[in-house]
Subunit: 343 residues, 2 copies
Amino acid sequence: MTRGKLLSVDEYAKGVLEGDRITLARAITLIESVNPTHNLLAEQLLDRVIKEAETRNTYRIAITGAPGVGKSTFIESFGYWLTQQNKKVAVLAIDPSSALSKGSILGDKTRMEKLSTSNAAFIRPSPAGETLGGVARKTRETIALIEAAGFDFILIETVGVGQSEIAARRMCDLFMLLLLPGAGDDLQGIKRGIVEMADLLVVNKADGDRKKLAAQAVNHYQSAVHLLSAHPGGWTPEVITASALENTGIEKIWNAILRYQHQTKTSGFWVKQRQKQAHHWLYNTIQEGLNTLFFEHPEVKTLLKQLEPQIIRGEKSPFAAAKNILDAFTANPLDNTSKTTTI
Amino acid sequence: MTRGKLLSVDEYAKGVLEGDRITLARAITLIESVNPTHNLLAEQLLDRVIKEAETRNTYRIAITGAPGVGKSTFIESFGYWLTQQNKKVAVLAIDPSSALSKGSILGDKTRMEKLSTSNAAFIRPSPAGETLGGVARKTRETIALIEAAGFDFILIETVGVGQSEIAARRMCDLFMLLLLPGAGDDLQGIKRGIVEMADLLVVNKADGDRKKLAAQAVNHYQSAVHLLSAHPGGWTPEVITASALENTGIEKIWNAILRYQHQTKTSGFWVKQRQKQAHHWLYNTIQEGLNTLFFEHPEVKTLLKQLEPQIIRGEKSPFAAAKNILDAFTANPLDNTSKTTTI
């Protein structure tokens, strides 16, 4: 929180539930904070709005693809198109590299000029977290706030290298993969596992001279989709061409998105996937919290520093050392003497 | 421990350090036990023998390959050949499926008749653990005991499906992959990542009509090896043909194993890899211990049971629930009331 003072939980909750975009932005900043006082407030806020968020029926869509595939332009066109259908749209990013490269995706809001000036849209650049785990969890918490604020669609942009896609898959309803005409997925640096996760494959930049290549790519991916194992929701992933330049494909994509929703809601997969995801975030949050508790523990830190060299020299078994350290932790798990100074 | 009563730590340590195979077998059973009293004894034993183990300079070799490639026959031939060079050899298995399928590899000791009757050999079937993590850790602890008992070589058999190879890679000095002539690694069900981990590739069953196919396979894998990223030890993985039927290849493999040892010891990679591995097992053991402490905690169990349905129904945020559960744990981390009855 660099801007302004903290609000009360009531004020945050009220503003978010009313869909006030300034309060929403500040609430997200609160969630992304590493300050323990902010974390406590953020937890209370989430607990306050979670039921409301769950009733909103927001459609969560992850959008990924290799650099150069035209993700930002696509998201801007698609997002803008959604606002034209009277839908409220939020755009987020999961970017595991942001801590290092400082905002490589969605960092420059002005790239989405048309969308960012729309009253029905909310664009949030990627959070700067230290670990992907943390970034992903905070993205998931941000989704809850955005849903509480009444958005109909959340578009989650990821970078296409693997880890952030797995995180996105665990928080979205539909996973969309953008592809270039011509080049195979291996040449685009897209891992096979990412192709397998996709519910919708969009061959982008299918315009001008690239139309023929795009048609080949569609054939290629349609066969690939049929070879891959069956979708757990009984859905056959669709392959669609699109072009921002020639303004084509958006409506076909929109229809596929509706078909997907209809079919997976009918089969029960939609709800089941959301339940599985909530379950995942419970365990993910516990694991992170437990590890923070443990590895930030002053005596654990001291012992690790002492014992690691002995283990590396083969003077002590890593198993016995682990036992020593665990014992020190359980003797006094809340010894936060080194942390109280930072609050 | 089903056979006989427990020995004292002194008795276990003495027997193991003297290389007594019966005590060694009993000590391994102690390590594999899930009984907390046994675990405590096992930790003391490991701490007692670890320094001795580290001075033995045992060569740890992982051997993997798809079912049908002839792993057991190869390990028997190779192990027997090593004993003929006056080397003491132990054979272990990491089998993540053992808990389900009950001993699919090395389960039947009689498959290695020649080797199992040699005084210089020690064969241990795969442990039956509940998780691969646990099985792998216990295999790593077993290695320490075997080294303390003065074995020169440890051959670790794995199943070739992924998880157990990653575990083996983290405890061995050299990783050997057995392949069939003709079929590509994809057809053999060997994941690319496993090929990339290999220091030595052996095209097995290179005999009779298969000799030509074997030569093709050697060419194929030699190109693959050159395409793969550089080995961190400055070693170029070698591709060698072998046949148990025609009794060929063992000596070439032996020479490659010696070259690998010489080169990686000279470059410093050998020691660096072992240090990294010890470091890994420290953190692996801590993580497992911490999770056991947490998820076996009676109040944590009760709360999880209570809160999971609420989370799944969207009535409570998984983040707030995680906080509740972590708080309950830290209030009294050693509340083992439900466990004391089982000791």
